[in-house]
């Protein structure tokens, strides 16, 4: 955990040097019109992005976030600055808080805010802004409130303007991650209480302390972000290079793709390639040159009903995991950009153990042996539940065929009711193993829909959750190993994504934890001449 302070003061060029640079620039400009030395100087730093892929945002109020509208985070995260912010390795670093300490017993976190934090109307950012927002979040019936409650937060307080204190029931290694989530953004008590329902829908009242601010919102069409005039570079976080960001609300991924690939350059400057188009992009040399691949912090798996026969037997579950040819699955269903996996935690985040679960990988002979060892009768059919959409139906039939050809099992498909198998997955709320292990697979976990319960695993996770420091990752690795031996789910693949980026977009960093591609580090993007 990063507990130090980083202070980077930008060096200022001397006036002589500046004159020389300007002169060189002028000469270069007139001498070779095609090339520009000061690249940002004469190119409008404007981008168009299609972040709001779910259309008009449900609510841009950080405390009103919902699972279904996670893409709204792409905007909120850039308008607000949280206490800590994720760096490229997804480790929370000081941002609005310049440092923080944990008490010896691990129950008190004290954040020291930096003195130069400003709202977009010039007011200073003070600790009571965070206190107001966190109280509001914990009191709401919001979908993210259980995450914060699970960390054991008992109280927040602001002893003075620059000190913010969080009390937790027991030591929680994940609290810094929670403090970096966009739901934990500070809010202005005066504006929010004065306009409780409309403060987040009007640019005039939508004040934020982040690198950008909302300048215009044409509801249902787009919104515009411009730099926050009162934001300063600090602690390694730069001033945004972009002068204007137009955020589109195109819900149809095919339309966005068509706008990107059309000859006119009026469409988005980078887009997420829809799954159906991945193959056409990979088959086109010029598009492939513009594309970049990354894996999301998402794992998909075959969830099994651990409570009822025949899958309450660990050997039977392991047999099913060994019966799935993940390479063929990715090829047939996930368009080849996804990555097969045999462990629950995805690569790219702390807690990932490479090679874990390799004994769960495709092995038809081993699967059959395990099945007979488990005393499984292939005569009784298993039920696979799917949602009634064409892609889900196709996927369900794929599994049906796979299990019948590898193990001779009869699988019936159903859209409702009790099930033995279903396709499921999980996406990281925050890049920490606590979000994956305890919350999903614990006996009394809020998100455990599999009726899986292993007291040994629970003990390991409980110890890991309440440890902070270097021991944490070792304990979590142990817990994950235990989990993979229990095989409550058969991990299948991590979702990979393909992004198409116009050649004039520079310094675009893609992170597995992006709400939308490029949203985590939008303030570093630059536009080259084109």
């Amino acid at each position: 955990m990063w507990l130090g302070v980083r202070n980077v003061i930008p060096r200022r060029r001397s006036s002589c040097a500046r004159l020389a640079v300007t002169a060189t620039m002028c000469v270069a400009l007139f001498a070779s019109p095609g090339v520009s030395v000061g690249q940002s100087a004469n190119v409008p730093q404007e981008v168009t992005v299609n972040f709001l892929t779910q259309g008009e945002p449900d609510s841009l109020d950080p405390n009103r976030a919902s699972f279904g509208y996670a893409v709204d985070g792409a905007v909120v995260r850039n308008v607000f600055e949280t206490l800590l912010r994720f760096d490229e390795n997804l480790v929370p670093q000081p941002a609005a808080a310049e440092s923080y300490e944990v008490s010896l017993d691990g129950t008190t976190y004290t954040f020291h805010l930096r003195a130069d934090g400003r709202w977009s109307d010039g007011q200073p950012v003070i600790a009571s802004d965070f206190e107001f927002s966190w109280r509001r979040l914990l009191a709401s019936k919001n979908q993210y409130a259980p995450l914060f409650a699970a960390a054991g937060i008992t109280g927040v307080s602001a002893p003075d303007d620059l000190t913010f204190v969080v009390q937790v029931k027991q030591p929680s290694g994940a609290l810094p991650d929670l403090a970096a989530l966009w739901m934990a953004a500070p809010l202005r008590p005066d504006t929010v209480t004065a306009n409780p329902d409309t403060w987040a829908t009007d640019p005039a009242t939508y004040l934020g302390n982040g690198p950008f601010m909302l300048s215009e919102w044409v509801h249902g069409d787009h919104l515009t972000l411009v730099p926050n005039p009162y934001y300063t570079a600090h602690l390694g976080w730069p001033l945004p290079t972009l002068a204007k960001v137009t955020v589109l609300m195109e819900t149809n991924p095919e339309a966005a793709y068509a706008a990107y690939t059309s000859a006119s350059n009026a469409g988005p400057d980078w887009i997420l390639v829809p799954d159906q188009e991945v193959n056409s992009v990979l088959n086109d040399a010029s598009l492939t040159a513009e594309s970049r691949q990354y894996n999301e912090l998402t794992t998909f798996w075959l969830a099994m009903n651990n409570a009822r026969p025949p899958l309450n037997n660990t050997l039977a579950r392991r047999a099913i995991s060994k019966a799935i040819d993940r390479a063929a699955l990715v090829r047939d269903l996930a368009t080849g950009v996804s990555i097969p996996t045999t462990s629950v935690i995805p690569p790219g985040m702390p807690g990932f153990v490479s090679g874990l679960g390799h004994d769960l990988d495709f092995d038809p002979a081993g699967a059959k042996a395990l099945l007979s060892q488990a005393g499984f009768s292939t005569a009784s059919p298993l039920t696979f539940r799917y949602t009634d959409t064409p892609s889900d139906l196709r996927r369900a039939q794929w599994f049906q065929d796979q299990l019948s050809s590898t193990l001779g099992l009869t699988v019936q498909l159903a859209t409702s009711g009790d099930y033995d198998l279903t396709f499921g997955g999980w996406s990281a709320d925050y890049p920490d193993p606590q979000d994956w292990l305890g919350l999903l697979f614990g006996c009394k976990a809020p998100f455990n829909t599999l009726t899986f319960c292993d007291p040994a695993f629970d003990q390991l996770v409980a110890r890991a959750d309440t440890t902070s420091g270097a021991d944490r990752s070792g304990l979590y690795a142990q817990a994950q190993t235990q989990l993979m031996q229990d095989v409550p789910v058969a991990p299948l693949f991590n979702r990979g994504r393909l992004v198409l980026i116009k050649p004039w977009v520079d310094s675009l960093k893609l992170s597995p934890f992006d709400d939308c591609p490029g949203s985590l580090f939008l303030d570093e993007v630059r536009i080259l001449p084109h």
Binding site: N283, R394, Q397, S416
Partner: protein, 320 residues
């Protein structure tokens, strides 16, 4: 003395042994009248072709749910629909299963439902209509009111509702057989009324005929009169109605499979294939025409045959 009387020659008449009176059985008459209807012949040929194709489905090169894993072109793997090739005469569907084989197997289900439903529904209708028409009185009233009750249910919504309810249950037997049986049962239950009314009407008009009185006088009981005398003479309108209903029931089965409450995946029927392919129009505009075309040809053929039968059986229809 003998006198010879000249007898004028009789006009030549064929002797009995030489006479060849052309006799035709009723079936032959029907067939000859049917043959005059060209569309009906085409329809019959098409229908027999469909039935033949469905019968030889087990001989198809690919199984009905067999995914072709030798297709490695990435474009066809993400969403299927490989184009026609020597190993797949009509191409493949969204999971790279052979389209032609699936169409044939699906035809079995659709045709089986059509014909079985008509068979069972007509049987129920004949029995109930005969009882109502022969015995009259209270039996007639009760049975006809029951028929009215069933007629008052809106056909498609009731069909969907019952199929959806039955879909919830899990059976350990072969799912397809159970589901087809369910569909046939439900359709027959909602389709016997027309036949019953027809039969009852025929009985009412036939009951006063001489041959019935004669049979009664000879001591035949009700059952014998109904089975031996009345039902055979009522068959003409039933045959015509039944042949037209086959098409209707095939379409009804397609409708409920289209809506997802007919056969379950991966089993295919023409209706469920139609439903699947409409989601994949982007990848193959032609695929959706195949099951749709099969339904269309079959039902048109049946309608033509029905028309031809109606014309062929016309004297029996009119001659009360």
């Amino acid at each position: 003395m003998a006198t010879t009387i000249a007898v004028p020659a009789r006009p030549s008449q064929p002797s009995v042994e030489e006479s060849k009176v052309e006799t035709r059985g009723e079936l032959q008459i029907v067939w000859q009248r049917f043959r005059r209807h060209h569309f009906a012949l085409i329809g019959l040929a098409a229908l027999l072709l469909m039935i033949l194709a469905a019968t030889v489905a087990p001989l198809a090169p690919w199984g009905p749910n067999e995914i072709d894993r030798t297709i490695t072109n990435p474009q066809y793997m993400a969403h299927g629909f490989a184009p026609p090739s020597p190993s797949h005469w009509l191409g493949t569907d969204e999971l790279n299963r052979d389209l032609l084989s699936r169409l044939l197997w699906a035809g079995r289900i659709s045709l089986a439902v059509g014909f079985l439903t008509v068979g069972i529904g007509a049987t129920i209708g004949i029995i109930l209509g005969a009882l109502a028409g022969y015995y009259g009185g209270a039996t007639d009233t009760v049975l006809m009111r029951i028929a009215d009750l069933f007629l008052s249910f809106p056909f498609l919504p009731t069909l969907i509702l019952i199929s959806a309810m039955l879909h919830q249950y899990k059976f350990n037997a072969d799912v397809t057989v159970v589901q087809v049986g369910t569909i046939v049962g439900v359709l027959a239950l909602l389709g016997w009324m027309d036949t019953a009314r027809l039969v009852r009407g025929q009985f009412l008009s036939l009951l006063n005929r001489d041959f019935v009185l004669a049979a009664r006088a000879l001591g035949a009981d009700g059952r014998r009169i109904m089975i031996v005398h009345l039902i055979p003479n009522s068959l003409a309108p039933i045959i015509v109605a039944a042949s037209l209903n086959v098409g209707g029931f095939i379409i009804a089965e397609s409708a409920i499979s289209f809506l997802g409450v007919g056969v379950s995946p991966p089993t295919a029927s023409w209706g469920s294939m139609l439903a699947d392919f409409q989601s994949y129009l982007r990848y193959s505009a032609v695929a959706v025409l195949l099951p749709g075309g099969a339904i269309f040809i079959t039902v048109m053929a049946i309608n033509f045959v029905g028309d031809g039968l109606r014309d062929a059986l016309d004297p029996w229809l009119r001659n009360r």
